[in-house]
Chain length 507, copies 2
């Protein structure tokens, strides 16, 4: 497991500095969490300034000559054993500091302030489904992204630089190739299911389910799969998220629709997956840049595994459905099989976060196409509503009636997060790769899961993935765990097996 | 009103620096609020580190040579008109930076560590009512206070330097004189009431009052008196407090005893008073050291005015009691007069935070006497339990059965806060002085209050006090508002009038 062979004085000095930087960043995360969950509306007037100052201080410290000296000394002191924590810590600090140094402090502060404004505009625009109200802020966010790519530098594609914010080492062309493969092998499944859409109904999860009951039951599931509430909590927010301060305090949010059971149940499991990853990082990595997930793609593999591969499986609900029926007596006469169909119904739809496992990646590919298109100058943001409608119609055969259900649905761009979306699909693919690997390696895994014992799976994930935090570059971690690179195969196989059976298809 | 005559380049540069320092401090406040209200238990493992880093960064910035240069330049640029905001900003920044620079970093760090130990010892000592267990830590806290006074410097009395942490410019001898007068004029009232203690009962506010109903009704009252929920919120915490990030986000907490109605009702009004003060500071002062209350004493005048002079008045409950009865039908057969007595019952008691308006100040005077006596070398901390028992018996006629209910009851000394207590009583006195002044100046004030219209009073407070934030030294502010210095007269008159009537006394 993790180990520090060369914890000499240079390592200690670097670690102390990184602790300080981490404190500033984690403080900003606490302010962000508060902004999304509890802050009164008036607080928006000044919260952005606080965040900008924290970000500026963190940036100044990370990019200072003194920190550069500490990093260089620690790299010189450490050997080159990639399993040595001291080597990894210095390497990751070097990666972060080098990238950060390329971004001028004034740029970072200006962007932080613009993000707060953009977020406010987005909330208002989505509420009134008024894309024009968001457009100036959206353009500024993409402009910041483009400038960021220029500052960071890239070989092939400006988008590579942005991907690097979330997925260290990932290339745009690799994503494009993986997505092309995924698309080609999933579209036949979408078409085949469309021809038998009436074989599955989700009527039973539509009705009335009280907020309090949904929240309570979802929290039970989160605790059952292993989310540690001593080091976490669940709140409501407009858009569910998980956020880690340190492994000792990792929080999630969820949302509830009283007329639809799925979002709260599976959103909570999803965010629990993220949170369990953070709660499982090594104790020694606390307040260092190693003390969080390897990348967003790897992160998403954990959330999607618990949400979908576990949470939407028939074996999971064999265990939990009777208890759900107790809480919601309206389900008393609905069979397990009908319920299982309802939580897995494939239905080309408008909202990414509500999309089923089969069509979800099409939402991502649309966003990837827009982001890369805008950066390449081939698409104009002003045309986005139109492009969105056309592509949704073209890919999934549905058309958003308004922009709130179209291009205004996601928070990401309002926070300047361009290059983020592909990690969702990469996570889907990795979730199947990792789960297949666990099945191979852990004797009796399925039997334990059938009994509702999820600790066996969690322990394997902790040992192979969580514990290592950000120690290994994501591609290296994937290779260490699965023996190969990220690929669409296992996920496509998983989809065909599961949905082929559910819809009675022959492949 | 406030104005900036000399907003030249030096003023702008200083303001930008002070904004940055404020952001670090306000971020720490958000982390503290979170720690007291929502943080999962596990978070304690690292929250202290984040706070220490923020505090260190803020202190380093405030005491840096660069900031000193900005202050000196701004002072030189500004004139000497005390009504000029630019003059006040530079003066307050100078005051804060000068004091902060006098305390060596090693002293601050050493004290922070000692405080953590003292706090732990105090908790244990209070739990077991074992004063000896706390004594060494208590002695170290007073020793740190003495050393702090030496670092800060003083003319007359070392306690002056400590008072200055909370009440800029206040002198120990002035506090002593005011307290002597207050004591002499209140003791006869205490004695007179004691002779008729049975005329008032608080039985009707003891019973069962559900937490949800108490919280909802208290929030209604807070909104009614003018606490702006668009820029605030109420949460639960172990000890109620108000905390301001900026005027745009000022939060309060409360606590509920389901068997006793008073704490939640009046605690919420009390904290609302603090919060309305902060919400009313001038917009131009946001993110500067002027953007908060003038002193703890002035702050307490606002909380006590809304809690007591308004919130415990007969006219207030003429308006609200019928609605309270609707919420708590158990009060249906209790008359307004009986309820009014119950929320104002005077009862010499052991615990400061539960004391009534008449006896509260005796608790403060005892602590002031001990603090100054120890600093003068006249009292030994080892003798405190004995002194405490003697003085409680002498002043209020009650004797603590153990030290947990005596000299171990307050958190302040365990946190090194020596010099803080007097501000509570100064606030009581000021609340009456300010209210009397408002009655003189605002035509129809009482009629408006009788109708449940509190905006007239709040508007007056905003204009005369809140708006100015920390611009004027507290004594100057008091003189500007009332035409004279702080004095016991109006508060004593208020007590005699109110409690004389309630207890049927003739003065």
């Amino acid at each position: 497991m993790s180990q520090t062979k060369t914890a000499g004085p240079a390592h200690q000095a670097l670690r102390a500095r990184l602790n300080e930087i981490a404190d500033l960043n984690l403080s900003a995360s606490i302010l962000s969490w508060d902004m999304e969950t509890h802050m009164p509306k008036g607080g928006y007037a000044t919260r952005g300034e606080h965040l900008a100052t924290l970000s500026r201080h963190s940036h100044a410290l990370l990019t200072s000559a003194e920190t550069r000296g500490l990093i260089d000394a620690a790299r010189a002191e450490a050997g080159d054993d990639p399993d040595d924590d001291a080597v990894a810590l210095a390497a990751v600090a070097d990666y972060d500091a080098t990238r950060a140094a390329k971004l001028p402090g004034s740029f970072v502060a200006e962007r932080a302030r613009a993000q707060t404004r953009a977020h406010t505009d987005w909330i208002e625009a989505r509420k009134t489904s008024n894309f024009k109200h968001f457009l100036p802020a959206l353009e500024s966010m993409f402009d910041f992204a483009r400038r960021q790519a220029d500052y960071l530098g890239y070989d092939d594609h400006p988008y590579d630089a942005l991907l690097g914010n979330y997925e260290r080492g990932m290339k745009t062309r690799d994503v494009a190739a993986i997505f092309a493969d995924l698309r080609a092998r999933t579209l036949p499944l979408v078409r085949a299911i469309a021809a038998h859409a009436d074989r599955v109904s989700d009527a039973c999860v539509r009705g009335h389910f009280s907020q309090a009951d949904q929240l309570a039951f979802s929290a039970r599931l989160a605790a059952a799969v292993g989310y540690d509430f001593e080091r976490g909590r669940i709140d409501l927010s407009a858009h569910p998220f998980a956020i880690n301060f340190t492994r000792h305090d990792v929080r999630i949010t969820t949302r509830v629709y009283e007329d639809f059971l799925n979002p709260c149940l599976f959103g909570t499991l999803h965010e629990s997956g993220h949170a369990m990853y953070e709660q499982g990082t090594a104790l020694e990595y606390v307040r260092t840049p190693l003390g969080r997930g390897a990348s967003l793609g790897v992160h998403e593999s954990q959330s999607r595994m618990w949400e979908n591969i576990v949470g939407r499986s028939l074996w999971f609900w064999k265990r939990w459905y009777p208890e759900l029926q107790q809480v919601f007596p309206g389900l008393a006469t609905t069979s397990l099989e009908t319920f299982y169909g309802a939580i897995n119904k494939v239905s080309p739809s408008l909202i990414r976060v509500e999309a089923d496992e089969v069509t979800y990646n099409f939402h991502i590919m649309l966003r990837f196409e827009i982001e890369t298109g805008v950066l390449e100058g081939k698409l104009k943001l002003a045309d986005m509503p139109e492009i969105w409608r056309a592509r949704m119609q073209d890919g999934l055969g549905v058309t958003p009636p308004d922009d709130a259900q179209g291009c205004l649905q996601d928070i990401h761009w309002s926070s300047g997060m361009v290059g983020y979306f592909p990690t969702y699909s990469l996570g889907n693919l990795l979730s199947a790769q990792f789960f297949a690997q666990a099945q191979q390696e852990v004797p009796g895994l399925q039997a334990a899961l059938d009994r509702g014992e999820y600790g066996v799976l969690l322990a394997w994930l902790r040992e192979r993935i969580h514990h290592h935090g950000r120690k290994y570059p994501p591609a290296d971690l994937v290779r260490r765990v699965t023996g190969g690179p990220i690929s669409a195969g296992p996920y496509v196989d998983y989809l065909w097996a599961k949905f082929g059976a559910l819809y009675g298809l022959s492949q």
